[in-house]
């Protein structure tokens, strides 16, 4: 049955507005309608000045990501009925980007980061030969398959805590792309891509706060966190981690803690009635560190 729902949509016109503002629209809601359908209805029937990006309306082109009730995702495959909170549905532009107009944000920085990781096979000149380069078994492709489905919707960047504090952070999507090419058996750039990524982005991947948001917002279920962790691990094993982190790792190895317990801390604990700590935790942690390749 058709019902009505309120769309609360963030608007911003650079020519007339200093600050974004909100406008509410009533939308006829039929079963099966998506949030994009709702926006299209508003544009066609109520307010033609509302701007948003859309193209395929089938969840594959990556154009239409917005924040729905605070979480980022493409809106063309989001059912209205799954996203109503208190009779309303809040639609805002992606965060961590500048707004061009209404729900349209400037993605130049996003694309720039993708470009930074050399997202192509450095397998030399491509030529017309009667042969595939890929002289591999299908098993070698599983890492590519896990990651190549990214649709560049930028939802992960919008929800990223590290980007919120530092917009220069390379961001999960570019890391995923780098991962895809590093695991391509035809690629010859290998770790050079990784090193350059670090050189160009300062602290690079280490800025990631491991908040997990990127994995949660990804509409294509890309294991973003796994990719990020794998980069961190390989840098670590090549002894290329930032100094601060190396010290942390050494501390862990030595005493099973990230930093040394000083007198003050111990006295504070006593004062607060907390149980005493064993000074050395290392034996308990050792097996874990070994398994993760942090300790030798």
């Amino acid at each position: 049955m058709a019902s009505e729902v309120t769309f609360r949509v963030q608007r911003f016109d650079p020519k007339t507005d200093r600050e974004p503002r909100f406008k509410e629209y009533r939308v006829r809601n039929e079963p099966g309608m998506t949030v994009l359908d709702g926006l299209l209805q508003i544009k066609a029937e109520t307010d033609p000045t509302l701007s948003f990006r859309r193209s395929c309306r089938s969840g594959i082109c990556g154009s239409c990501a917005v924040r729905i009730n605070g979480s980022s995702r493409p809106c063309c495959n989001a059912q209205i009925n799954d996203n109503i909170v208190g009779g309303r549905l809040l639609v805002e532009p992606l965060a961590n980007f500048d707004i061009i107009k209404d729900l349209v944000v400037n993605l130049d920085a996003f694309w720039g980061k993708i470009r930074q990781v050399h997202p192509w096979n450095e397998s030399g000149e491509f030529r017309h030969t009667g042969k595939a380069l890929m002289e591999v078994t299908a098993d070698d492709l599983s890492e590519i398959r896990k990651t190549e489905g990214c649709i560049f919707c930028a939802s992960c960047h919008s929800d990223c805590e590290a980007l919120r504090s530092n917009r220069d952070f390379v961001g999960p999507a570019a890391i995923v792309r780098a991962y895809r090419f590093m695991h391509d058996p035809r690629d010859r750039l290998g770790n050079k891509r990784l090193d350059e990524l670090k050189a160009r982005t300062g602290i690079g991947v280490w800025l990631c706060a491991i908040c997990g948001n990127c994995g949660e917002s990804c509409p294509k279920l890309i294991p973003t966190n796994e990719c990020i962790a794998s980069f961190k691990n390989s840098w670590f094993s090549e002894n290329k981690a930032p100094d601060g982190l190396k010290t942390t790792a050494e501390n862990l190895e030595k005493m099973g803690r990230v930093y040394e317990l000083d007198e003050f801390a111990l006295r504070m604990r006593e004062k607060l009635g907390l149980p005493p700590l064993t000074p050395n935790n290392a034996p308990k942690l050792e097996p874990i560190l070994k398994k993760k390749g942090v300790a030798k």
């Binding site: 000045t49 395929c56 082109c61 192509w120 030529r127 590519i144």
Partner: protein, 573 residues
């Protein structure tokens, strides 16, 4: 207002446009792409099935040629089809060298059950409709996406300049020579002139002429309309392919995979009605046969719950099989129609899918206008004739994109920058400004919807003279009403209301041509099915339609089909 100058300007950044750009740049030309979408958003991204090529030693070039010619209902030009098919294998390998990770033989199968025996490291191929050999290469179920991304990344590698989100409003022509385009930077709202020695159109198809379509919202036939307005003919515009299984109500594609796995198509009375149309093949009959059967059921009132759809029922396949073999289709139903195919049938109806017609070109992409090239779905070479074979259009984008890029680069060598008409940018600015100031009583969305509905209902799957004439009259009336549209004005920054108004001009232009060409072709061939002329008529109609604008009129002309090896036979499956 800036004037940019390049050797070659390519309009469109789908597979065809980007492939052309890479090639022209590799040949040393200064190339720029102007595209209304970011390249990665182009509609090529939506192709799922795959791309055809003869790469298995057991397959033959001749078979691929014949399947294509037969599929085209003998309207495809055989000399061009020969080029398409001969160059297919090297283009597949080239894509693979560029970085596409094609699905490989044995991938995804448990080690013990692998069927590849000695074919390790070979690109896998799947069977596709209308072909007698499994020759469709694929990348899982996202072939278009993976190829488009690969192409984009190679474009970056090649360092080609891309003007992203620039809407091209017109071609610039003087004394029968193309000298560039005018485009609107959507981000700033500024209009710019792009001068060039060659312009290459790669703007895709015109699916949005119809109310139900599998095509993206931006597939509005802009390039064809632009060329047509400058007196360039359009070829075979009456041929529009309908896919039988679009999700109701939007028309999003439900892939053939579902029927391949054994799904039933059932009408409102619970009948598996395909038994009345193709008892032998049932649901697996060719696309056009299934599409017409579904449409008949709907038109004769046997839709489900009296509505214009029938059911695609998968329930008898069982939860396990659906979850294992068709997870994407289940996801599609849940996300886009709130229907879980484990417990409910999916509502489907035929959907406009592919535009066979377009700007006529030679085998190197050159059009009849000096300096103008075209490639991809917006062109008509013609390799698809009256009906495209699944998997042949992605192939067309790379084979002829590459050729057109090469030819454009060769063309600009030694060519001087053509003159452009004086004040062309100012004139265009005035035109856009007037549109922005339009305050009439008519609405763009309403005109668009009326157009799309009448075209789908009357120039769609079934065609008859009377209704088609009504549709043509309606299209012309809507064109008049367009003069009184209303826009909100305001700033030009990402003014999508203005863009939609411009796109509607293209739709109106193209729709009129489609209707006129369809009325004139008094036979049935391939996708063009006339109830009043249900037979193919080679005597009178084995020829291509050419439509050309002459002032307010459109004149039709015809040209012969190139037949080399395969004389016309009846098309039976």
């Amino acid at each position: 207002m800036t004037v940019f100058t390049h050797d070659v300007v390519i309009v469109g950044a789908g597979l065809a446009g980007m492939r052309a750009a890479i090639e022209a740049s590799r040949q040393g030309a200064d190339v720029a792409i102007v595209s209304k979408l970011h390249p990665v958003r182009s509609h090529s991204v939506a192709a799922q099935g795959g791309i055809n090529a003869v790469i298995n030693p057991e397959d033959t070039i001749k078979d691929h040629e014949f399947d294509t010619v037969k599929g085209s209902d003998y309207l495809g030009d055989q000399d061009r089809i020969e080029v398409l098919i001969a160059e297919a294998p090297m283009n597949i390998y080239e894509l693979e060298h560029m970085g596409a990770a094609f699905s490989m033989v044995g991938e995804g199968e448990a080690l013990a059950q692998r069927h590849f025996e000695g074919r390790l490291g070979t690109i896998d191929q799947r069977p596709f409709g209308g072909q007698n050999f499994p020759r469709t290469c694929f990348i899982q179920d996202r072939t278009g996406q993976a190829l488009l991304h690969t192409m984009y990344e190679n474009l970056l590698r090649q360092g080609v300049m891309v003007y992203e989100e620039y809407y091209t409003t017109r071609l610039v022509v003087k004394d029968g020579v193309v000298g560039g385009v005018v485009a609107l930077d959507q981000r700033t709202g500024e209009l710019h002139l792009f001068r060039a020695k060659a312009v290459l159109l790669a703007t895709g198809g015109y699916g949005r002429v119809f109310s139900v379509t599998s095509n993206a919202m931006d597939v509005t036939g802009d390039g064809m309309a632009m060329a047509f307005r400058e007196g360039v003919p359009l070829e075979d515009m009456e041929f529009v392919q309908f896919h039988p299984t679009g999700l109701y109500p939007t028309g999003i594609l439900v892939t053939e995979g579902a029927r391949g796995e054994g799904a039933y198509i059932v009408n409102g009375k619970g009948e598996r009605f395909m038994s009345r149309y193709a008892a032998g093949k049932m649901e697996l009959a060719p696309r056009d046969v299934v599409a017409r059967a579904i449409q008949t059921e709907i038109e004769e009132g046997r839709g489900v719950k009296g509505r214009p759809y029938v059911d695609l029922d998968l329930r008898h396949l069982g939860c396990a099989k659906i979850q294992e073999r068709l997870p994407q289709i289940r996801e599609l139903g849940i996300n886009f129609a709130a229907v879980d195919c484990l417990t409910q049938p999916l509502p489907i109806r035929p959907t406009a899918h592919y535009s066979m017609g377009g700007v006529p070109t030679d085998v190197n992409g050159a059009s009849t206008l000096k300096g103008l090239f075209a490639a991809g779905e917006c062109s008509c070479i013609s390799v698809h004739g009256a009906n495209r074979l699944g998997g042949n259009s992605l192939l067309e984008t790379v084979v002829f994109g590459r050729r057109a890029g090469m030819a454009a680069a060769a063309f600009v060598k030694g060519t001087a920058l053509p003159e452009v008409p004086a004040g062309v940018l100012e004139t265009e600015k005035k035109r856009i400004g007037a549109l922005l100031d339009a305050r009439g009583p008519e609405s763009v969305p309403r005109i668009r919807e009326e157009l799309q509905t009448v075209m789908f209902d009357k120039v769609g799957i079934y065609r008859t003279e009377g209704p088609m004439k009504e549709a043509l009259a309606k299209a012309r009336e809507l064109k008049k009403r367009y003069k009184d549209i209303h826009l909100s004005g305001g700033s030009l920054v990402f003014n999508t209301e203005l863009i939609e108004a411009l796109e509607l001009q293209s739709l109106l232009e193209v729709a009129e041509v489609i209707a006129l060409c369809a009325i004139n072709r008094t036979e049935s061939r391939g996708s063009h099915f006339r109830r009043d002329f249900p037979k193919r008529d080679d005597q009178n109609w084995l020829k291509h339609t050419l439509a050309r604008r002459k002032g307010d009129d459109i004149v039709l002309d015809y040209k012969p089909v190139a037949i080399t090896k395969y004389p016309p036979q009846e098309r039976k499956y």
